[in-house]
Symmetry: C2
C-alpha cells in the first residue's frame, strides 16, 4: 500500500513534536515536512506536495482560513485538515468553506487523527461526531427558516458596532462621526435585525462570537 505523505503547519513546537513522534511509529504515513508558519509552507509546497496537510488555524503570519483558500485553489489535490483548539461552529463552517476536507481538534486522540487522515485521503470529509452535533444544533437553532437575509454588515454598521462595543453611547458616536443621533439609531436597529437579537448586550456577545467586533 502506498504511503500517505503528510505535512504539518503549526507554530506550537509541542504539537509538532507530538505529531512527529506519532507518525514515526506508523508505517502507513510518511511525514515529509513540518512548517512553523504560512510563508514557509507556501514556499515548501512549491518543491513538494503532500497528500494531506495538517493545518493549524492560528499562525503567526497568515490566517488558517486564508491559507486553506490559497492552497485548495493552487493545489486542489492536497487534502487539507484543520487542526485546532477552536470548537466554534463558525470557524468550522468558514474553514470548510475555505476548502478544508477535515476538521480535528487538538484534543483529539491519536485514533481520531488517523481516521481523519484516512478519510480525507480517500476523498471523504471528516468532522468529529461531537462537532457534527454542534454544527447541526447551531444550524437548526439560528438559521432555521430565513436564509440569512444579510449576514454581512456595511462599513458604517461595522464602524458603529465597534464603537458600541467600546463604551460609547449613541450620542457620543453621533458626535464623533459628525452624524445625527437618529442615524446611529438607524444603524443600531439594522445591527439588531441583522444579527437577530433584541438588545445591545446580545448584539455584542453575538458579534464577538461571529468575529464581527473585536474586544
Amino acid at each position: 500500500m502506498k504511503k500517505i505523505d503528510i505535512a504539518i503547519v503549526d507554530d506550537h513546537p509541542l504539537i509538532q513534536k507530538g505529531l512527529h513522534d506519532m507518525f514515526r511509529y506508523l508505517d502507513r504515513f510518511n511525514l515529509i515536512a513540518g512548517y512553523n508558519d504560512g510563508a514557509s509552507l507556501l514556499e515548501g509546497l512549491k518543491q513538494r506536495q503532500p497528500h494531506i496537510l495538517l493545518l493549524d488555524i492560528h499562525l503567526p503570519d497568515h490566517s488558517g482560513e486564508t491559507l486553506a483558500r490559497i492552497i485548495s485553489k493552487s493545489y486542489p489535490s492536497i487534502g487539507i485538515i484543520a487542526l485546532t483548539n477552536l470548537d466554534n461552529v463558525y470557524y468550522i463552517r468558514s474553514m470548510f468553506k475555505a476548502g478544508v476536507q477535515g476538521y480535528v481538534l487538538k484534543t483529539a486522540s491519536e485514533e481520531v487523527i488517523i481516521e481523519a487522515i484516512e478519510k480525507v485521503y480517500a476523498g471523504e470529509q471528516f468532522l468529529e461526531a461531537k462537532l457534527k452535533e454542534l454544527v447541526l444544533q447551531a444550524t437548526l437553532s439560528e438559521g432555521g427558516n430565513q436564509r440569512q437575509p444579510h449576514l454581512l454588515l456595511t462599513k458604517r454598521e461595522q464602524e458603529v458596532l465597534q464603537m458600541i462595543a467600546s463604551n460609547m453611547t449613541s450620542k457620543e458616536i453621533a458626535e464623533t462621526l459628525f452624524l445625527s443621533k437618529r442615524t446611529i439609531d438607524h444603524h443600531r436597529n439594522n445591527l439588531l435585525l441583522k444579527l437577530d437579537v433584541k438588545n445591545t448586550a446580545a448584539l455584542i456577545a453575538k458579534a464577538i462570537k461571529l468575529g464581527l467586533a473585536h474586544t
Copy 2:
C-alpha cells in the same frame, strides 16, 4: 546532579506526547507520571510527588486554578507550572494567586519550558518575558491608582452577567431567578463598577475579553 522529577496533567494527547518525547532525551529530567485529568492527578500524588508539576488550565473535571490551590496547600514542596494556551492577564494573575510558580504558554519553545522548570525547581518564579510585559501593561493601564477593589465577581454576578449576554432584559432575568428587578439592577450596577465600564455593551465586550462570560 540529582534528576528533577516531573509530572504532567493535560488532556491533550498531542501535548502529552510532545512532552514525553522531549523529556526522553533530556537526562536532567525524569518524567514520572502523565495524567489526563485532575482526579487521577490527585490520586496519583498520594503515591508519589514530583518536584515539578506541569499543569494544564483546561481540564475536563477540575479547573486548573482549583487544582493549583489544592496542590499548593496539600503539597507545598511541589513546584507547579501552568502550561496553557491562554495568554490572558487575568488568568496569569489568578494562577499565581492560586499558588503556581511558573506560567508557560504551549507555544513556548523547548528551551523556554526547560528554563521554567529549572527556575521553579530552584525556588524562583518564572513568567515569559512577553507575558511579563502584558501583565505590566495591564496593571499600569487599568489598575492605576485604585488597587483593584473587586476583581472577582460573585456567583450571582456571574449568573446575571451570563444572562445579560444571552439576550435577556433585567425584568426577564428577575422573573427567571424569582428576584426583584431592583436586585438585578443592583447586580448590574456592581458589574459596571467592577469592570469599570459605563454601559451594557462595553460590559459584555470586556467580560468576554476577560473570560468572565461566554458567547
